[in-house]
């Protein structure tokens, strides 16, 4: 049944002036899964995310969300449908406080975001919910700190809290643990696992420990095309995948 899939793409293609960054990718993401998108540097993972959220226009192909064709929609519209993405480079609002960061997300559903004649103290009714979300990611003691001053790992946690504030049906995470120390990686991994109940997660991830630890399904991209697909144990044994990873194949095979 098609409804089992929350997100489907049909032969998605993205060309940059003749260079094919994404070629014929037909992706099916099952509802409720944590689905990992992996592949070597430059494989086209981020480009895929940009296509799915319409930050880039696909050259060819179609995207369906909950069975509806969303190929022609604008990025903000797609976000309002419930597909919310994070970015590979940290995506906080650096000079706003931690609390304000989360409130920006909460504010949208409250409405009245065009009211320039109202005081922003009307937003304080969102504070309780914002603090609740921050507590969920362990940031409740940083509420009044300016986001730029947070340590790197905490910034990524703030991004996740902000994304969760929209209660998205489908969360796209682009390398959520990139550049983190061990402890932070573990914390973020547990966090992703925790928030995956009641929603679907599609994540790009290089850390094989995270991929093997929490993903239900894996798609491997190489040079823009799908190389393999399946659960971790299956994909890790695939000789094509091992070859594509070369240097990291050891690690992939061991884990």
């Amino acid at each position: 049944m098609a409804d089992d899939y929350i997100l489907e793409t049909d032969a998605l293609v993205k060309e940059f002036k003749g260079f094919v960054a994404v070629s014929d990718v037909s992706l099916k993401v099952r509802r409720g899964h944590i689905h990992a998108l992996i592949g070597p540097n430059g494989a086209g993972k981020t480009t895929c995310f940009n296509l799915l959220t319409k930050f880039l226009e696909p050259t060819r192909g179609r995207i369906r969300f909950n069975g509806e064709d969303i190929t022609l929609e604008a990025p903000a519209q797609i976000a309002r449908r419930g597909i919310v993405r994070s970015f590979q480079i940290s995506a906080v609002f650096p000079h706003l406080t931690v609390l304000e960061n989360v409130r920006i997300a909460l504010q949208r559903k409250l409405g009245g975001s065009f009211y320039f004649w109202r005081s922003d103290s009307t937003l304080s009714r969102l504070d309780d919910r914002a603090i609740e979300l921050l507590a969920e990611v362990g940031l409740d003691s940083y509420v009044d700190m300016v986001a730029v001053e947070l340590p790197y790992g905490r910034k990524r946690a703030l991004e996740i809290a902000t994304t969760l504030a929209l209660d998205p049906e489908l969360m796209l995470l682009d390398e959520p643990t990139q550049g983190m120390g061990h402890e932070d990686v573990d914390r973020v991994m547990q966090l992703i696992k925790k928030v995956s109940t009641r929603r679907t997660i599609l994540m790009v991830e290089h850390n094989m420990k995270v991929v093997s630890g929490i993903s239900d399904m894996i798609t491997v991209l190489a040079r823009g095309a799908v190389l393999a697909e399946g659960p971790y144990a299956e994909v890790a044994k695939n000789p094509l995948v091992i070859e594509a990873y070369m240097g990291t194949s050891e690690e992939a095979a061991q884990a």
């Binding site: 959220t53 930050f55 604008a74 990025p75 903000a76 519209q77 976000a79 309002r80 919310v84 993405r85 994070s86 970015f87 995506a91 906080v92 609002f93 650096p94 000079h95 706003l96 304000e100 409130r103 920006i104 997300a105 504010q107 949208r108 409250l110 009245g112 975001s113 065009f114 009211y115 320039f116 004649w117 109202r118 005081s119 922003d120 009307t122 937003l123 902000t162 929209l166």
Partner: protein
């Protein structure tokens, strides 16, 4: 009462007392340019958009208000309102085209469109071309307060300034202002949270243009004429200078920056002649090299450092 409220009250008191110590027309000129810079700062400092064509709105409102009062015989208040609305409408048109681009391209589109508006004013008959629109009567406020009296006019101008300053302050500190800051801080993230950033930018642009227009119309009333200088790109550059010198993205920066520039120009004009431009240029260079945050921005940063040391 909070410290902030006390500061505002002291400023208001200074504004009320000023014409007894300083030539009122000079203070009025400062207020008009301060309002212009504050309106501009709403866009540059709080939305992150550098418009290089804001003089078009300032000048357009000056012409429309002048024409409405002088030729159509509209009461002064309605004339100013007509100028403000015209500038807002023009802002909507320019903004709709410009916000499709970002960064330097945005600045270029605003500059190009402002040049087209300038040439329209140069050719159109109602503007008086090179001579300008001269001899606009100041009229009477509510039909009985004679505005040809400088002191009466001063308090009217001060009231306009206070109202507009309050509106800008309100906008910055509103739910809408929060989204503007989010767009300035990280536009892709704001989009990915579901905000149609183009709509927010456009509303900010229209507000900024309308208030820049209110400043232009008011200045026209003070000097009783509107000329091409009001719409010239020199002025578009000057408002950038005022805002950056004072501190963009701060509430008081544009006020301080414009006061410094207007007073300096006024003091130096007879003494050094065309050297004024060179002096202004040097100030700008020094400011950009040494005081990146602008006067008010540096003061705030200094104050925060002091607080940090105490803690």
């Amino acid at each position: 009462m909070s410290r902030r409220a006390i500061a505002y009250l002291m400023l208001l008191a200074a504004g009320l007392a000023a014409p007894f110590f300083i030539y009122p027309v000079l203070v009025m000129k400062v207020l008009c340019f301060a309002l212009f810079a504050c309106a501009f700062n709403l866009l540059l400092g709080y939305t992150g958009l550098l418009s290089f064509g804001h003089a078009a709105f300032f000048g357009a409102a000056a012409y429309v208000a002048g024409h409405a009062i002088k030729v159509w015989g509209l009461p002064t208040e309605l004339g100013l309102l007509a100028g403000t609305i015209a500038a807002g409408a023009l802002g909507w048109a320019v903004g709709s085209l410009a916000i499709r681009r970002t960064g330097i391209y945005f600045a270029m589109v605003t500059l190009a469109l402002a040049q087209m508006i300038y040439f329209f004013f140069l050719e159109a008959s109602f503007t008086g071309g090179e001579d300008g629109l001269q001899g606009v009567p100041r009229g009477a406020l509510l039909g009985f307060i004679d505005l040809s009296n400088d002191l009466n006019l001063y308090y009217f101008v001060l009231a306009i300034f206070v109202f507009a300053f309050w509106l800008i302050y309100r906008t910055i500190h509103s739910p809408f202002g929060q989204i503007l800051k989010a767009i300035r801080e990280n536009e892709p993230r704001a989009i990915s949270l579901g905000y149609d950033v183009a709509k927010y930018k456009l509303l900010a642009f229209v507000l900024s243009a309308a208030l820049a227009g209110l400043a232009g119309a008011t200045k026209m009333l003070v000097f009783k004429f509107a000329t091409l200088t009001d719409a010239h790109w020199h002025l578009s550059g000057e408002v950038v200078l005022m805002t950056i010198l004072g501190g963009m993205g701060t509430v008081f920066g544009p006020l301080v920056g414009s006061s410094v520039i207007v007073v300096l120009q006024n003091e130096l004009a007879d003494k050094v002649g065309s050297l004024v431009t060179v002096i202004m240029g040097s100030i700008f260079v020094i400011c950009v090299l040494l005081f990146r945050r602008g006067i008010v921005g540096e003061i705030i940063a200094f104050y925060k450092r002091m607080l940090g040391q105490k803690a």
